[in-house]
Symmetry: C2
Subunit: 327 residues, 2 copies
Amino acid sequence: MVVAKKFIYVKPFVGMPTADNVQIVEENLPEIKEGEFLAEAVYLSVDPYMRAYSNSYTLGQQLEGGQVAKIIESKNPQYPVGKHVMAYFGWRTHSIYDGTQRVFLIPDETIPLSYYLGIVGMPGVTAYFGTFDILKPQSGETIVVTCAGGAVGSQVGQLGKIKGCNVVGIAGTDEKLDWLKKIGFDQVINYKKTPNLGEALKKAAPNGVDCYFDNVGGEMASTIIAQMNPDGRIAVCGAISAYNDIGEPVKATPIQRYMIFGRLKMEGFHVSSLLHRWPDAIKELLGYYKTGKLQTKETVTEGFENMLNGLIGILNGDNIGKAIIKV
Amino acid sequence: MVVAKKFIYVKPFVGMPTADNVQIVEENLPEIKEGEFLAEAVYLSVDPYMRAYSNSYTLGQQLEGGQVAKIIESKNPQYPVGKHVMAYFGWRTHSIYDGTQRVFLIPDETIPLSYYLGIVGMPGVTAYFGTFDILKPQSGETIVVTCAGGAVGSQVGQLGKIKGCNVVGIAGTDEKLDWLKKIGFDQVINYKKTPNLGEALKKAAPNGVDCYFDNVGGEMASTIIAQMNPDGRIAVCGAISAYNDIGEPVKATPIQRYMIFGRLKMEGFHVSSLLHRWPDAIKELLGYYKTGKLQTKETVTEGFENMLNGLIGILNGDNIGKAIIKV
């Protein structure tokens, strides 16, 4: 009999998550039935949305998330033993697919499998839809991205370069900035070392900002939106500045006057509402990766039991590129 | 020789405008040339944008704005004597059209001519484009509008009713609310008498908000956006809450988290960028008015010299419906 380990949400997150918010428990798995398969997690993902969406968690539930898992038993010919899937099984080591979970068979196992949690996984398609569907950057335009050192932000900038844009990345450590310059960002700003982000941005984007991919919200977003050109576009992907807010959110400069005078368009989105388009997007992203147009970096935490530390690391901005848990 | 009176901007607005910001001067007009016409203002418009855009004014310039004027001399057969135009001549009594100003010959003089500054003028097309192009309200949806007692807001609500929506208006006096109920608004909220706007809105819009026409910005906008349904739309037309801000704008709750979770779309616009579409929009609005689907109300200030008082009245929220200056 297979024993799965899984993380249970036992105490609501208040501010930054802590060890007592979760608990690891064991679960005996039954034999698989016709149409099912059993998979073992190889890599698990930690992502900022896990903190953002925690308001909708109920106590006692398993934490939600994606993983790359190896099929180790199968009674479903579409999912043969030995193949891998990217699946929303949650924070657990072993899982039975019963037809209800979101599962994608990995289309190409010649690249590192963990990339299906990053560059060709959820963060990858997030960058893809936000950039191509909402920002629609044109050659020569300036695109600004916050949390640029993370999995989504670093990819947004590279997609902007593919479209011939001037790309400005904002992140919180010089190590991240060095990497961003290596992968093609034109300008980078360390917001933690910049006394006046608005002034720094005027220097980095002297022709103004046409597209803004927002991962942070708050005052930083207001500062950037205040420098947007007429007919600018804003993709609102994340608001990490607010995820750990306790009580009332910290207030920020209202953006409405900039929206009016610049005729700006702003659109919030989440990639889980576009599941039907993931396969095509992933195919295109795989192509960019294989032709050297997309690069990635991973921050790997070893050990399933360290998943919460991996999540805390993201919320602290410790990761460069995609944060991965290796079982 | 014709002597025009005009308002000159002599001292920058700081906070609410005061009498010493402007000065009335006289100007001797030359004889008109071939292709020109001379017009005398009959009604002039005061609108919130006049305060909003004042940052771009230079000292000594004439104040900008629209008026309905009668053609009293003409050397242009397209503009015969006795006809009226809606024209952007600014705050002045007599004007010579020289081909450079924005001028529309009034298409139908059987309705009150001042309406071409309101229901079938700039505020009317503002409501039209914001509602039909950006909000795209569907029958049965809930649309919320702020500054509902003003020229634009009252019309947005009526356009919402034409589309079969549940319309909620927010304004600052009971007199405005009474009028809004008469012209078809389903629910009205006096924000000045409501200790908790969010709670009041939950009662007025128990199924959530699908469309929000924003004239105010600030915290009121954040409160409404926090109650929007998935795939909601926001048209950002004005930010009157911020126009008189001195120094740093008052901060408000960031809206990004609502944008993401609700997949909201928000778009700023100004009607002056859509001039080519005004004639068709005005034709459609005239039709609604003539078939009783659009009603209006005017707050009339007598006397050209009282224009600034009219503008101050708007910024104070004193007007019901369209604020008009009658020469």
